[in-house]
């Protein structure tokens, strides 16, 4: 890893007098999987939203591919190559699987100069993407409201794998998944990282973090409480960092 993909420098976020983030600095390399851990309210989701363009930081700066970067909207972040899977699902349940998969990026063809949805081409792509990932959904034309939680989450995961980009942010992506689907999801993440895409995954489950991540970053009370390579730490040490039994920034333990 030569130049890091994304560098965060002293990111702060205040809500009035409350400091949600008190200066976060770390970096993510190309093809690297970083697990972002921390207790509830540590500021993980806030940080993800700042990178993804949903929130503006109060101060600090970000470098994306070596250039100063600040997304003012999710659209800008996407244009730069940052994909996000949010904790609360981002699907429109009133339309079908295909429409959700291509949300905002529909394939069109021109009819008399007017862009018209190319449903067949989109359905083909979705069928291919889902088959590759081993996800089975009876009909791609059923509205998402009729699908189970696991199927919905699978759609979102497949969507980010399909679109790729340069950096993927996953905010608790496996909350509604079963054991087998989670395993497949973790495989997907490794597969995405092998393509040189940086991955940030927020999770509460220590085991998942150790299964998939190259590096583990712990956030506690708005600061980075630990930033260690997976091989150089253990679940117990990480738990200590999360709960604050070791000093902030103590680095590798154990």
């Amino acid at each position: 890893m030569t130049e890091p993909l994304l560098v965060l420098e002293d990111i702060r976020k205040n809500y009035g007098a409350i400091e949600a983030l008190k200066g976060i600095s770390f970096s993510i390399g190309r093809g690297e999987v970083v697990a972002l851990l921390g207790d509830n309210g540590a500021g993980k989701s806030t940080l993800v939203k700042i990178i993804a363009g949903g929130l503006e930081p109060s101060s600090g700066r970000m470098l994306f591919e070596g250039k100063e970067f600040l997304a003012k909207s999710p659209a800008e972040a996407k244009a730069a190559g940052i994909e996000t899977v949010y904790q609360d699902l981002s699907l429109c349940t009133n339309v079908d699987v295909v429409a959700n998969f291509f949300m905002g990026r529909e394939i069109t063809r021109k009819v008399l100069g007017v862009p018209v949805l190319d449903e067949r081409a989109m359905e083909r792509e979705v069928a291919k993407a889902l088959a590759n990932a081993g996800t089975r959904i009876p009909s791609l034309r059923t509205n998402v409201e009729h699908l189970s939680g696991g199927q919905r989450q699978a759609i979102e995961l497949n969507r980010f794998v399909h679109w790729g980009g340069k950096l993927v942010l996953l905010d608790e992506p496996f909350a509604a998944l079963g054991v087998e689907q989670t395993r497949r999801g973790l495989d997907m993440i490794r597969q995405v990282a092998r393509q040189g895409i940086g991955v940030v995954i927020i999770t509460h489950i220590m085991q998942q973090a150790f299964q998939v991540a190259d590096r583990i970053v712990v956030i506690r009370q708005g600061v980075v409480a630990g930033d260690v390579a997976r091989q150089k730490t253990s679940p117990d040490a990480v738990i200590n960092m999360i709960t604050g039994e070791t000093l902030a920034g103590a680095g590798p333990v154990g």
Partner: protein, 331 residues
């Protein structure tokens, strides 16, 4: 349940309003003397053109998850603008353009521009200032009607220029051109909603606005356009209304709003947003119109129409709930 019956059931559920319309027409044709005539059916379509066009605009914003109560007043203002400019009696200026046919596009443009402008105003306030569409458009409903009263001084404009009036008189296949314009509107906007990214985005915004924003869809822009379209289409409805009545009065179109809401709801559009299609709305409009015609033919007092419309809206909502349950069992 085998896939075939399931598929048929899906089709019936998706087009339930059309089946209701068919059912009602058959029942009326059997039990009401003189109902079964081409002239009657033509009349049903003709009488529903203004309401139909207005319902399109209303349906667009409702599908996008908002609301526009101002369409009725906007239509009245557009009609009054056309009336004042191109009527020769009453408060009309009687402006003449040569060649005369030029008055058609110019008057249409005036009506659509008036509507689009108010629609933009509504949309801007709702989307940019994040105010409730209900309140903003309720205000517009009141002040725009006030404006109609103010500019007309409560008087009316009569004798619309014959070149424009011609659209309401000239018939093609038994229907006046104004009715064809309404049908064309339904065809065009149904295609826009079903086949273009814009229509798809509006529907998804109505379903989950946060998701569409996160997916990079320009939500504010799309919504402002939807409100502008609703206004412009209401303007078009006003133009048709002016042609139909050959002028404009200060209280033109009063009560249309509630009929439009009824048509939209009966047509299967959910007020929660994200659900519904325009062909269904057209069936809803035709359903209302055919019931009106039946009441007229039976010689019942016209006041009964209101009662029937109200019950129909209730029935539509009940039916919708029933449909939802059935669908859940299907999935």
């Amino acid at each position: 349940m085998n896939p075939r019956t399931r598929k048929i059931l899906e089709i019936v559920l998706d087009n339930l309003v059309w089946f209701m319309l068919l059912f009602v027409l058959i029942v009326f044709s059997i039990f009401i003397p003189n109902y079964f005539q081409l002239g009657i059916f033509a009349n049903i379509i003709e009488a529903s053109s203004v309401l139909g066009v207005m319902s399109i605009g209303l349906a667009l914003v409702i599908i996008a998850g908002h609301m526009d109560l101002s369409v009725e007043s906007v239509a009245a203002l557009a009609a009054m603008a056309v009336g004042i400019l191109f009527c020769s009696a009453g408060i009309g200026f009687g402006i003449k353009l040569y060649p005369e046919w030029l008055m058609v596009p110019v008057s249409l443009l005036v009506a659509v521009a008036v509507g689009g402008l108010i629609g933009f105003f509504n949309g801007f306030l709702v989307v940019k200032l994040k105010m409730s569409a209900f309140i903003i458009t309720l205000a517009s409903y009141i002040w725009v009607r006030g404006l109609v009263l103010a500019v007309s001084g409560g008087r009316s404009a009569q004798d619309l220029a014959p070149a424009i009036r011609w659209l309401g008189i000239q018939r093609l296949l038994g229907l006046p051109l104004t009715a064809w314009i309404a049908i064309a509107c339904f065809v065009v906007f149904s295609a826009v909603m079903a086949k273009t990214p814009f229509g798809r985005h509006l529907k998804m915004i109505g379903g989950n606005e946060t998701a569409t924003y996160r997916a990079g869809i320009r939500v504010t822009r799309n919504l402002v356009i939807a409100f502008m379209l609703a206004g412009a289409i209401a303007g078009l409805a006003g133009w048709l209304l002016a042609i139909r009545t050959s002028g404009a009065t200060a209280n033109l179109g009063v009560g249309l709003l509630f009929n439009a809401f009824a048509a939209v709801v009966i047509g299967g559009v959910s007020l929660k947003g994200g659900v519904g299609s325009l062909p269904g709305v057209y069936a809803g409009v035709l359903l209302l119109s055919s019931i009106n015609t039946a009441i007229n033919l039976m010689g019942l007092p016209a006041n009964f129409t209101q009662v029937v419309h109200g019950l129909l809206v209730l029935a539509a909502v009940l039916l919708d709930t029933f449909k939802q349950n059935l669908r859940q069992r299907l999935a």
